[in-house]
Amino acid sequence: MGPTFGRGAMTNHWNDIANSDCVLIIGCNPAENHPISFRWITKAMDKGAKLIVVDPRFTRSAAKADLFVRLRPGTDIALMGGFINYILENNLHQKDYVANYTNAAFLVSKDFEFHDGLFSGYDKGKRAYDAATWSYELDAEKKPVTDPTLSNPRCIFQLMKHFYARYTPEMVEAVTGVPKKQFLAMAATFAATGEPGKAGTLLYAMGGTQHSTGVQIIRSYTIVQQLLGNMGLPGGGINALRGENNVQGSTDMALLFNIVPGYMAIPSEAAHPTLKDYLDKETPKASFWINKPKFFVSLLKAFWGDAATPANSFAYDYLPKIGKGYQGAGYSWIPLFESMGDGGIKGLLIWGMNPAVSSPNLNQAYGALAKLDWLAAFDLWETDTAQFWKRPGAKTKDIKTEVFLFPAADSLEKEGSVSNSGRWLQWRYQAVKPHGDAQSDLWYANRLGLELKKLYKADPKAVFPDPIVNLNWNYGDTPDVHLVAKEVNGYTVADKKQVLNFLGLKDDGSTACGCWIYSGSYPGPDKKNNLMARRDKKDPSGLMLYPTWAWAWPVNRRIIYNRCSLDPQGQPWNKDKAMFHWDPVAKTWKNLDVPDFKWIDPATKAHFGPEESAKAPFLMLPEGKSRLFVPGGACKEGPFPEHYEALECPYVNPMSAQQSNPVMKVWKSELDRVAQICDPKYPVIATTFRVTEHWQAGAMTRNLTWQAEMVPEMFVEMSPSLAKAKGVNPGDWVRVKSVRGEVLARANVTRRVAPFCCGKAGFANTVEMVALPWHFGFAGLITGGPDSRQNYAANQLAPMVGDANTMIPEYKVFLVDVQKV
């Protein structure tokens, strides 16, 4: 989403789904995993909206759908590629939108090519591309050359049309297993939202991302939504359904190796030796990101306060710079665990997470944890991870890892904000005090910071103590959460006055701000200025934007890219769902949401006409238009999504000679075994899923009596035909085995899953699929089965292989066999 639109976040929000004319659910199961969100899908359906569910399983969401499309897991790009072809062949795209708001008209370099699954610039030895040819053609002034008629054969529209012409309905059927007739019904239903004034929303989650082609799968969804003109509209957008109550916030706060708070790159030793290098290279010449120096310097001031001065480049050298990471693969989840397994990582802090259930290839993960000198976990429960040293089969005595398990406070026992999937920052108040010695994570982080400062001040031999000793860390012994929230919002350094929003930030060290995209959430000194705590449900637009309920980033904007809800002349595509009114006589805007476009001159307060903002409806991208084609290697597999098979796959890729993602990293350690393509020992496709009664890695539900009673045991969904072939009766315990591990599960024989018949014409064959919930493990009130010597975690089976861009592991497709116990 980031490379396509400029921001990697849900574009709309939960209530807004009710404004949709058609809801396409692909790669998520909201009825099960985001149950309350389904109220808004149901409300849309009550008003006549159609619901399409695409999934390998007949899910609870599918049960409510007008049309269920059973897709072979991992073939989303083939389905969406076919859909793109259908839209273009039948001329169903939203013409004014595509021509004006996307990069369809841009011309691409003459040297750009695609042949048999590979784009130009591929280096087989390095398993990487030189993306030089994936670029816009520039004129003498270095501006992209465009053809507004979209007829030049090298314009993106024509290139795309040519590229996806290979994805015929017949090819879609061969790859995905979706019958042609059903595919066409799906395509026609959702393509109807391409009519100006109609809105279709696309919802996805881990079913889209957890593939070795995850980023390109999401890219293929974004192309469909761009072609149909569904971005920025009430009832439209692309909505990633977040699985944890603050995974949006933890991402915004950059608990990820590659960014610092507010989606700015972490400095790297190769590209950014000095602050000047960083700001020169990371600040684009156009887009809202030209303000990046203000956000970055203000972050350094928030971190290091008075020690960040112009003379020391605002303490830029205090920030760590990344190198190449483990085996050149960076520092993300998979290389982190690979490095740990190799003995590189000695100490691990875990804040409310249970990787002994949630990590892929768990046997690798257990070995890695045992290599640590120490591990410290902060949690509500004794998780599977905290007791990995006494897991079934562990050689406890040989595990030398020292373990600290700290009792943490739960959400009702502390105060602070959380960011939901729809970017609403909502305030939690403390209802009760924590039990015993339990403390909030805020308290633990604060206290650790204080203790470390003390240790580093006291030790004259400490290594480079400056970033710690000088850390701006004044929240009190018992930290005041409001002080932290106010630092996140930002303030002027001289008088400690809160800034109103990020427009108040400067690059000269006169302002400090912990996370610029949250700037505006706490714009004054008192608790009454905490806009995250607002509870006023006024809805002036009637579109459920609720501008005075909580606060949404950025700057309380409820639907992002909202210029696209208007035609180039500034008139809403749909007059009944208008968020903005341009008065051509008075030459003024009346806004019901915060505009995500240039509408007012901050100095003169004069309003810009709609033609001004029509030039750049996507403020965060230098070209101002969303990207059907992603230039410059921002997506490592190529500028257009191309279908490749999963790493472990029972089919030869019908699309090209390139079987799997040509640039993904494949690990070589003994524990990283993968099955062969069409491996006869592992003839069944496996995928993982969640149930509504349990949550993620299970600690938060497997310890509760009600949840444990509702879904007490590990199970595997298998088709009646597979059960018959294996001699399995419903309720039997079966062993599901992959090349990496095995797990016991009760057979849930159900037509919710079914075999797929795919493959090139003449080579089609039928392959069974099983599906396993991944919540179970070996610790807690229930583990998933009756045998305390068993580990019921499904991820013992999943491979440690990730997408080439994000390294999100491929949990959703791997190969197994099933045996009766």
Binding site: N15, H34, P35, I36, R39, L241, G243, E244, N245, N246, M253, L255, L256, P261, E269, P320, G323, Y331, L336, I345, G347, I350, W351, G352, S358, D373, W374, L380, W381, A386, K390, K397, E402, L405, A408, D410, E413, G416, N420, Y429, V432, D437, S440, A445, N446, E451, L452, L455, A462, V463, P467, W473, V481, V484, W549, W695, M700, L704, W706, Q707
Partner: protein, 188 residues
């Protein structure tokens, strides 16, 4: 508000008749008096947000004398309008479960059991471990002489289920320590 028993029943009116419950209600004279007072009577109400998925449903918690009495969906919340899923309805047990950790547990290298430890000892010992690991592994400069100030021997994971202000402090502290192996649930 003066809602009497009579107006209450009148208000329900034909709906009850249609349900065929009229007899049940009217043959039990004084039935309303038999209904115990709501357990939330005279409680303090605190609003919160559900700790499970990313929908962000509103909760209300009722407490009396610092004790949690009840948790339910917030009827004023625009997303859930009072409703909750089966997990959200179980938040009461998250708070009150006897399985919740109350003390620090410590497992010595090679040991087969937990020991209970004082909080102060544990946090101070952990700070010492962090410092020792960091200082033993710290890289100040790259081979090319670029200041890099990082440790590749410390890692921090998690944060998707805690509050923004907590995530911010962890993010800030991790960078101050030079941690580059910093990851969480968003990657999975």
């Amino acid at each position: 508000m003066g809602i009497t028993r009579r107006t209450f029943i009148k208000g329900l009116g034909s709906g009850i008749t249609a349900l065929g419950l009229t007899d049940v209600i009217f043959t039990r004279s004084g039935w309303a008096a038999l209904v115990p007072p709501a357990k939330t009577k005279d409680t303090q109400v605190t609003t919160s947000i559900c700790p499970y998925c990313g929908v962000g449903c509103g909760l209300i918690a009722n407490t009396r004398g610092g004790k949690l009495i009840n948790v339910e969906g917030d009827p004023d919340h625009p997303i859930n309008e009072g409703s909750l899923c089966s997990k959200g309805q179980a938040v009461f047990e998250v708070v009150t479960s006897p399985r919740r950790l109350k003390k620090v547990r410590y497992r010595a290298p090679g040991s087969d059991h937990w020991e209970e430890k004082p909080l102060d000892w544990a946090i101070q010992t952990l700070a010492q471990r962090i410092k020792a690991t960091r200082d033993a592994s710290f890289t100040t400069k790259s081979p090319a002489g670029v200041p890099v100030n990082r440790t590749e021997a410390l890692a921090s994971i998690g944060g998707a289920s805690i509050n923004n202000e907590e995530c911010y402090l962890i993010s800030k502290l991790a960078r101050a320590l030079g941690i580059v192996y910093l990851e969480h649930q968003a990657r999975l």
